[in-house]
Amino acid sequence: MSHAEPQSFISKYIFSFDHKVIGIQYMITAIVMALFGGGLALMIRTQLQHPEMGLFAPEAYLSYVTMHGTIMVFFVVSMAISGFGNFLIPLQIGARDMAYPFLNMLSYWTMVPACLIMIASFFVPGGAAAAGWTMYPPLSAVEQTVPGSGIGTTLWILGMALFIASFTMGGLNFLTTILNCRTKGLTMWRLPLATWGFLVATVLGLLAFPPLTSAAIMLLFDRHVDTSFFVTDMVINDQLLNLGDGTPLLFQHLFWFLGHPEVYVLVIPPLLMTMDIIPVFTRRPAFGYRQSIWALGVISFLSMIVWGHHMFVTGMNPYIGKYFSIATVIITAPFAVLGVNLLASLWRARLRPAVPMLFALAVISAVGFGGFGGLFLGTMVSDIYFHETYFVVGHFHLMIGTVTLLGIFAAWYFWFPKMFGKKMDENLGRWHFWLTALPMIAIFLLMHLQGMGGMVRRTFDPGTYEYNAGMNMALRFPITIMAYVLFIGQMIFFWNIVRSLKRGEPAGENPWDAATLEWITPSPAPHGNFGAALPVVSCGPYEYSVGEDGFGYLPQSGGGEVAVHSPASAEEREETGGTDSGETGA
């Protein structure tokens, strides 16, 4: 049996060893940080909309841009994924907890100070780091080049160090747990896709973060010990600074060697959680389970050898550039396989349009729109034009913003019953869906268009350039408006959580008639997850539409006997299909 159930509030909810509690802690922290990141986004949009208002100084604007990126990438999406990973992995593989519960707790409590440091860095002289979330030296290394490169950047590096530490601890836990703690009969080929996603993402992260660590250390030395890894002599204020003769490009290589796998670390788990959710609401087996996993393998391998496509215009050797381009666009192939499998999972479906499914479907569309944008940036020639324009901004927001967040929302609505034993409210959920999916996709598609117009990112006042006059400037307005709509839409989400926690309808063990292991335990899952005996797995995770007339499904631990779910009755159908939130949103 598992470690004794803790009694005191502290050991139960604060310094808890229980993976479920830790997972929820991660998610809540991610939500709090998301409010910061989103607030920064609104400030950025407002400034871009009304540069003449003089809301704040350019250096402050740069800090907001930088911290928005850092917070959203590392402290919202990464953290939400850690949250779901912690919550789901043991449940889905039939384990009582992570392999190293203490390490797990440690990793969360390393993340918290990281968040605090990042937020604190706004309030030091010179303000928060202002060199962009990519932190290219010399801008990030030499204090005189931009005010934010003072203490702010030191704190940024410290925060990232703690983040990497925490991520590595969590990652080691994910890896060891998935590989070694699966319950009897649960072979790798019977693993739910969500768990596969966490596994692949973890391996990627563990391999990709160390080079970033090395880059951060060297940057730190350049800043504080006067080494010259990255910095070169320069003239500031007509005064010569003898900083040595480093190679700034070195940092970019190290950074993007992390940076590119990192975006897959962000996008793969939500995508695969989506693929995990869809079969439940189509009542059909996931299409191409093995193909998806092979595709994942290829993607993760390729992602480690294509970092150079972020550096096409740095004057790299043209033949190397060509190689990076060729390798990069190959990635679209395995991604296309994932896309096709997502679509094909809907083939002849028995659709149940519950809120998680709505988000999942939106993910499919977003992957379509976002994925193909990558071709324009991966092809070296077109990237010459699009590099550092809003096309890039639109593209990566669509992929690691929209896709990930929609996927995470889908997962939240789907597993909320298992977390708290209550179902989320359907109507509020739909309002939230429309107020999230619509603006999120629209905003970033419009940014693609601005990029087509050559609008340059990270500009304090795009009006400086005459070529922006016209559509580039006009497009700012709908984007800004929808950004606000998006932000307000999330309030519905929070209200929904509060309301559902108070008086949501009790969920029961298996509200969605799903087949994977987490649904055989009570909701919320008890300490130790599975009662006296661990389940024994007898089949794959998506055995739906079996039995005569195909209304049955095989729970993974059902020992092969068919469980039957009834199709939604006519009046239910009217109820689920009938609420008008749909039309009002569309």
Partner: protein
């Protein structure tokens, strides 16, 4: 069972996907980019256009399938569901790979390659040679002058008002150099071969109308080449975040007839010239 229309939420979703697909197709069909004004730019535009058609088709097809599946997927249908055999799944694992390989690599190798080589691999014939220095937050342009050789420069001589590029006052080769702050003149039809340096951080040389872009890296001189084809005044943009004045780092490129270009050079004061 009688044909029942799908639940309204599904119809709403279908409308959502359909509208977004149509709008984005229209949106990307609009010519957002200004008239291309350089030879290399035409090559770059060709790639962009190719990719727009290729990906556009895929987005439309994908969403069409998505919509069809949504409309047909009834939650009460009793039609027996035959699980697709493994080889069908494998087939659909291979087809997209082949399609994407062909589409994507064609963009890189067939459509793009020539332009890439022209920009980076080949050496231009009879180019206009000039030097551009990026500094926070200005573009400084230097022409080698009559003797066609640059005067020596060193950071220690840099003085924003008198000698922004830090050119050696005692170097004879420097005397006929022509320095311009943010304003660049180029003759139409001749390839401009521009040496790029920076005084401080990373900048990036970008002229939207030419489509060309090149980072300027400290301690790592880079070069950019392009051939303007249309007279006009174009904007020179810094596209790499370079500090609080990044958005102000703007220059202008005037493309004029060769004789006007000579005329402009002649009336510019030289570095050595008495005011």
């Amino acid at each position: 069972m009688e044909k029942r229309k799908p639940p309204r939420i599904i119809i709403a979703l279908v409308a959502f996907f359909a509208i977004f697909t149509i709008l984005s197709v229209i949106g990307f069909a609009v010519p957002w980019r200004s008239e291309v004004a350089s030879e290399e730019g035409q090559g770059i535009d060709a790639v962009i256009t190719y990719l727009l058609f290729a990906t556009g088709a895929l987005v439309i097809v994908g969403h069409a399938i998505l919509i069809r599946f949504l409309l047909k997927g009834r939650d009460d249908q009793t039609t027996a569901y035959v699980r697709p055999p493994a080889k069908v799944e494998w087939m659909w694992g291979v087809i997209p790979v082949i399609v994407m390989m062909l589409l994507a690599e064609a963009g890189v190798l067939v459509v793009g390659s020539a332009t890439w080589d022209k920009l980076y691999a080949e050496t231009p014939t009879n180019p206009v040679v000039l030097e551009v220095v990026g500094k926070q937050f200005e573009w400084l342009i230097r022409y080698p002058g009559k003797d066609n050789t640059y005067g020596a420069y060193d950071f220690k001589w840099v003085n924003g008002a008198d000698n922004p590029m830090g050119i050696d006052e005692d170097d004879d080769a420097a005397m006929d150099d022509i320095i311009s702050r943010g304003t660049m003149y180029l003759p139409r039809g001749r390839t401009a071969q521009i040496r790029l340096r920076t005084h401080d951080v990373i900048h990036s040389f970008f002229v939207p109308d030419f489509r060309v872009k090149q980072d300027v890296i400290p301690g790592f001189p880079t070069e950019i080449r392009f051939t303007p084809t249309v007279n006009g005044v174009y904007e020179l943009v810094c596209t790499e975040l370079c500090g609080l004045g990044h958005y102000k780092m703007r220059g202008t490129v005037h493309v004029v007839d060769p004789e006007d270009y000579e005329a402009w050079l002649n009336k510019r004061p030289t570095f050595g010239g008495e005011d």
